[in-house]
């Protein structure tokens, strides 16, 4: 490994807050979001039902970046490494959108009957649902939702506060206080995995109360990781054009982040193949309708697109070392992956309701953009509110020493 002096890692430069540049990036994302809001409004009056389904898609999509950021942030605290030092503020800003996600949950909470079959009066005559009524009932659903938000909110609040404290203190040697990130992140990750698993059951899987798959929580976790890695690479490829990110987000760092995204692409495929193969070969009446619906009729081509664009294409492109090291190339792969995350969520949620037509609906994308119009400004504002690089983390210099160029 090349020897390097750390002169370019001057703390004063790294601690700068490029608010103007970030503001410009933020206003650019507003244009798309604004269009989404308008379309969503139209959709609201055209079809309430589809609006609600698409709302759930948009909500779960943005929530997956909020929670994925929390998860990857905690993994970074546990493992260290330059890739995490560079991505850290992006994830911290991502987690700070949680209050918005709490408010945006209310439309779902107030429309349980519109979305969840078990919440409708007919469910009283469904013998299978009756067997699960101890879990699938509105009061317990709300209690769990509150519990999820309290746990996520607690972790997010504490990690962000400690990180701010670290910025305010002058750089120093590693002290007893710096272990606290790690001490919290271990148990924190366990809590996150458990809550996201139950969240995936409550908010997504129970749309069809007959279906169950033990890998569902893992699929949700993997999807969150994939979406967050793609989002991180996309944001970083914009931030890298100016200081201070230009000094730290070297091709080596993009390479590492690209490899992680590559790993998540393969994990996503692995989890999905596992689920498909096991359900397909057992061919049990309580499970197989999930795939009968999705591999036939209007959803067939959506499945094909997912296979090609969320696995085959990113897989082939991300094999290339040069592509992973080039921000302006890898961001296109990240964009495709993010769009495919939306399609994947529609593929998971949509077939419960839509059995004819084209499967994908324009409202799905409109609502992703519309919720993004609220989520992204909050994200950019949080990002601009803190130094972009955690230069005062005592582990920072050591982590960056491993970065060549």
């Amino acid at each position: 490994m090349a020897t390097h002096s750390n002169d370019h890692l001057d703390e004063a430069v790294l601690m700068a807050r490029p608010e103007a540049e970030i503001g410009r990036l933020g206003s650019r994302s507003l244009v798309l979001g604004g269009a989404g809001v308008l379309l969503a409004l139209v959709g609201f009056f055209v079809s309430r039902e589809t609006f609600l389904q698409s709302y759930l898609v948009g909500y779960i999509f943005w929530l997956s970046i909020t929670l994925g950021s929390l998860g990857i942030l905690m993994i970074h605290h546990l493992t260290g490494g330059a890739w995490g030092m560079v991505g850290r503020r992006i994830w911290e800003a991502g987690t700070k959108t949680l209050p918005l996600m709490v408010i945006l949950f209310l439309p779902i909470a107030f429309n349980l009957e519109g979305l969840y079959a078990w919440a409708r009066p007919e469910a009283a005559h469904d013998p299978v649902v009756q067997l699960k009524v101890a879990y699938l009932n509105a009061p317990f659903f709300y209690v769990r939702a509150v519990l999820f938000f309290v746990i996520w909110g607690g972790l997010i609040y504490v990690l962000n506060r400690w990180s701010r404290e670290q910025d305010e203190e002058p750089a120093r040697l590693i002290g007893p206080k710096d272990r606290r990130f790690r001490l919290l992140s271990g148990p924190g990750l366990c809590l996150l995995v458990i809550t996201v698993t139950f969240m995936s059951v409550d908010w997504v899987m129970s749309l069809d109360p007959h279906f169950y798959s033990t890998i569902f929580g893992v699929l949700m976790l993997g999807g969150q990781g994939l979406a967050t890695m793609a989002f991180t690479i996309l944001v970083l490829s914009a931030l890298v054009r100016f200081d201070p990110m230009a000094r730290v987000a070297k091709p080596d760092v993009f390479h590492d982040l690209g490899k992680l995204m590559f790993a998540f692409v393969m994990l996503w495929a692995y989890f999905n193949v596992s689920q498909l193969l096991i359900i397909w070969s057992a061919n049990l009446p309580e499970e197989i309708p999930f795939y009968l619906e999705r591999l036939n009729g209007p959803w067939r081509w959506v499945s094909t697109i997912l296979l090609l664009l969320q696995f085959v294409l990113p897989f082939l492109f991300l094999l290339s070392r040069d592509l992973k090291r080039n921000p302006s190339a890898v961001r296109w792969v990240a964009t495709v992956i993010l769009v495919m995350r939306v399609v994947d969520l529609v593929w998971t949620i949509g077939p419960v309701f839509r059995h004819e037509g084209s499967g994908l609906h324009w409202l799905d994308f409109a609502l992703v953009l519309a919720i993004g119009a609220l989520w992204l400004p909050l994200f950019w504002r949080s990002l601009a509110g803190r130094p972009l690089v955690p230069a005062r983390d005592p582990y920072f210099k050591e982590a960056m020493a491993h970065v060549g160029h």
């Binding site: 490994m1 020897t3 260290g80 299978v128 649902v129 067997l131 699960k132 879990y135 040697l173 590693i174 007893p176 272990r179 271990g186 366990c190 995995v193 458990i194 698993t197 059951v201 007959h210 169950y212 798959s213 033990t214 890998i215 569902f216 929580g217 893992v218 692995y270 989890f271 596992s274 689920q275 193969l277 096991i278 359900i279 070969s281 057992a282 049990l284 309580e286 005592p394 582990y395 210099k397 050591e398 020493a401 491993h402």
Partner: protein
């Protein structure tokens, strides 16, 4: 992390990968003298003798099996698969740590792996060998097994069932075994050349010379070698996932409650790594004491391996929790019955609770750094995990089979003496192979450990740190 960022003498500073003070020569001397010597430690002789006795038991058990038939095992009508598949999965799982350490940790740039990868890889090969004995002898006539297992154009135009995961097992384990062997041997070549140059006895010199394939250590050799090694690491990485995924399919693609769960593939893989790391620690701790390897296998290694054990153990527990929750949530009568039967209702409920004790309760002790640094505690936890991972397969296989859909066919399963003898025998085979390996080949990769020394990284004075 290098220690440079910590205040001097801070007890929280990470332990270096190699105890400072070693040079290229001292490392090479120390590691090659373990093999190129006439002094065999007494503890080595005793352990190998025990292993060898058990190996003899294996031969007796297998000979009796071949002459009599698999009726000597406790397998019966509902439990048609028991010790044979439990032990197969147990051994295959143990074999996973080797590839993970050598391939995935290499790709993750975890340089501490170099002190442990060689014997972990050897362990993988020996564990795979032990595993293969079970399905092979379960066929009853193992000398005919090739005709049944391998797809080849025969005169009766009969093919094995390509839809059966048992056939995929043949391919998956076959690939895994051969790639692991190539990887292991490739890694050995430079060290074999060192042995060739250092051995005094002419026969030893000759053998090491042939095995080192004409290695001269030229720059060109090294360049090709490093490329090949990295490529092999890339090829081996998917194998870490694929083998136990296919093993999990053996169960999961069926319709039997307790077997049919979509989480099985990742959960089996995590379990395999969990078992594998526990076994690496089980071997590393005594070997480290026996050969006084404290400078090369430091507490840093023990701690890191303990952490991997803890994390993969938690993933396994997540699997148990998902199985239990979704078993209830499914609303299926059979799933719920299986769950009740497994947890408190059935005659084998004790094994589920013993499993939770071994794999869930005991490993939690590894959260505490002080205990991760205590060899006796880490060793004890690993013994629990070794037992726990065996029990896990017992729970999955026997508990699910002994109460199937039809109450009239329910029966209990009792292993016979020969079941235990075969299990103990494979442990003997494993121990024997492992200790013979330690005696005749470099147990720790000499050339890779040398790269961890400060000598290998000439740096400007102001930059400290023992490694990259």
């Amino acid at each position: 992390m290098s220690a440079s960022e910590y205040p001097k003498g801070d007890p929280r500073a990470p332990i270096p990968v190699i105890t400072p003070g070693h040079s290229f020569t001292s490392i090479t001397d120390k590691l090659s003298d373990m093999v190129l010597t006439y002094n065999t430690p007494l503890a080595w002789v005793i352990t190998t003798a025990i292993g060898f006795c058990l190996l003899m038991l294996l031969i007796v058990a297998l000979a009796y099996l071949v002459f009599t038939g698999i009726g000597i095992w406790g397998n019966n009508a509902p439990v048609g698969w028991a010790f044979d598949i439990i032990n197969f999965v147990w051994w295959i799982g143990i074999g996973h740590a080797g590839t993970l350490i050598s391939a995935i940790l290499l790709l993750f740039k975890q340089d501490w792996r170099t002190s442990i990868n060689r014997f972990a890889e050897a362990m993988t090969l020996f564990a795979v060998a032990c595993a293969l004995i079970f399905p092979l002898f379960h066929t009853g006539r193992p000398w005919l097994a090739w005709y049944w297992l391998l797809p080849y154009p025969n005169t009766m135009a009969l093919w094995p069932n390509f839809r059966s995961p048992l056939l995929w097992d043949v391919f998956a384990v076959g690939t895994y075994g051969s790639v692991s062997a190539i990887f292991w041997f490739t890694g050995l070549i430079p060290d074999l050349a060192t042995f060739r140059d250092r051995a005094v006895h002419p026969v030893a010199k000759r053998i090491y010379g042939v095995l080192s394939l004409g290695w001269r250590g030229s720059a060109r050799h090294w360049w090709r070698y490093e490329t090949a090694y990295l490529l092999l690491a890339g090829l081996s990485t998917p194998l870490v996932l694929s083998v136990h995924t296919v093993v999990s399919f053996d169960f999961a693609v069926s319709v039997l409650p307790g077997w049919h769960a979509t989480i099985f593939p990742p959960y089996f893989v995590a379990g395999a790594i969990f078992a594998g790391f526990a076994m690496v620690l089980t071997l590393a701790i005594p070997l480290r004491a026996l050969y006084r390897l404290h400078d090369v296998i430091t507490l840093r290694h023990i701690e890191n391996m303990a952490k991997v054990t803890l994390v993969t153990g938690l993933i396994v527990v997540y699997g148990y929790a998902c199985e239990a929750f979704f078993g209830w949530y499914s609303g299926s009568e059979y799933e719920r019955f299986m769950l009740k039967n497994r947890i408190y209702y059935g005659p084998y409920a004790w094994s589920y609770w013993a499993l939770l004790l071994c794999n869930f309760v005991v490993p939690q002790i590894l959260w505490i750094k002080k205990f991760r640094h205590n060899l006796a505690i880490v060793f004890t936890v690993c013994m629990f995990v070794n037992v726990g991972m065996w029990l896990e397969r017992f729970v999955i296989i026997v508990t699910s089979l002994h109460r199937d859909f039809l109450p009239s066919s329910w029966d209990m399963y009792y292993p016979t003496f020969w079941d235990f003898a075969t299990l103990a025998g494979t442990i003997g085979l494993f121990l024997t192979l492992m200790f013979v390996f330690v005696r005749v080949l470099p147990m720790i990769s000499i050339f890779e450990v040398r790269t961890l020394l400060p000598e290998a990284h000439p740096k400007p004075q102001h930059e400290e740190g023992a490694h990259r």
